[in-house]
């Protein structure tokens, strides 16, 4: 079991190392001639106005919020799905209830207009 995790750890490490090496190698090959105009922010040739970290809509937050709730739900539903073949009908109804409760949350968000793109 731990051997599998060793492999996963190494794989994640290597899959970060490979692009890093490629980018580094390309950096050695490529020319370096910076000049002040070249290294300004790219905003279609127009001078940057104001701070570049602008604020944006609260709508994004709500999508992330609904996502968070459904993501946490998977902690329970994946083990339930793994055990599914050994469950009675009652155990399945329990999970259906679980999903229905969450679905009602989605419906609330829908009715509240939180899912609209504004």
């Amino acid at each position: 079991m731990l051997n599998d995790w060793l492999y996963i750890g190494l794989f994640v490490f290597i899959s970060m190392a490979l692009p890093a090496i490629a980018i580094f190698a390309a950096g050695l090959l490529s020319p370096k001639k910076p000049n002040p105009i070249k290294s300004t922010s790219y905003e279609c040739g127009i001078e940057t106005v104001g701070p570049s970290w602008v604020q944006f809509k609260a709508q994004y937050y709500i999508y992330a919020l609904v996502f968070l709730v459904f993501d946490v739900e998977t902690i329970f539903l994946f083990p339930w799905a793994v055990a599914y073949n050994q469950l009675t009908l009652f155990g399945i109804i329990e999970a259906v209830l679980f999903i229905l409760i969450l679905l009602s949350g989605l419906l609330y968000a829908w009715k509240k207009g939180a899912l609209e793109w504004m």
């Binding site: 079991m1 731990l2 995790w5 996963i8 750890g9 970290w53 604020q55 944006f56 609260a58 994004y60 937050y61 709500i62 992330a64 919020l65 609904v66 996502f67 968070l68 709730v69 993501d71 946490v72 739900e73 998977t74 902690i75 329970f76 994946f78 083990p79 339930w80 799905a81 793994v82 055990a83 599914y84 050994q86 469950l87 009652f90 155990g91 399945i92 329990e94 999970a95 209830l97 679980f98 409760i101 969450l102 009602s104 949350g105 609330y108 968000a109 509240k112 207009g113 939180a114």
Partner: protein, 172 residues
Amino acid sequence: MTALQIIFLFVAAITLASAVMVVSARRMMHAALWLVLALAGVAVIFAMLDAGFFAIVQVLVYIGAISILIIFAIMLTRKAMEDVGPQLNRGWWLAALAVVGVFAGLAVVIVSWPGVMATAGVGPDADAIVNFGKDLVDPDKYVMPFEVASVMLLAALIGAIYVSVEHKGGQP
């Protein structure tokens, strides 16, 4: 020392260092990125404790969802976060003192507790996840936490949406 112990010390050091950066970084966005690193370290430690399921869930829920939520919130409240001035309260040294006291107390309790020398048995059997899934819907076991969790998530969802949807016209 076995290889596992060396890896543990290494990961623990990284995790604690990034946790320190979380509470001391001046820029909020940097604090959030350090938080991601700390959470990833905790996930590695879960994997080393044979709790692979929770290692993955840690990445999925904490890194994939909670930190993204935190980053969004930081971006939404940007203007107030001009990163000037001290980010700590004036009485931060009092807090530091209290925290060191708490840590010393905890360390004493841990070291003096007789059960601390317990050694781990063999790892969990492969179907620990299956048992977990079965017990979650078993009325004699943990069906209550299971359903309560979903109600809690529903409450959080409704509450958070109610608070954060802009109410048109007048007070929320």
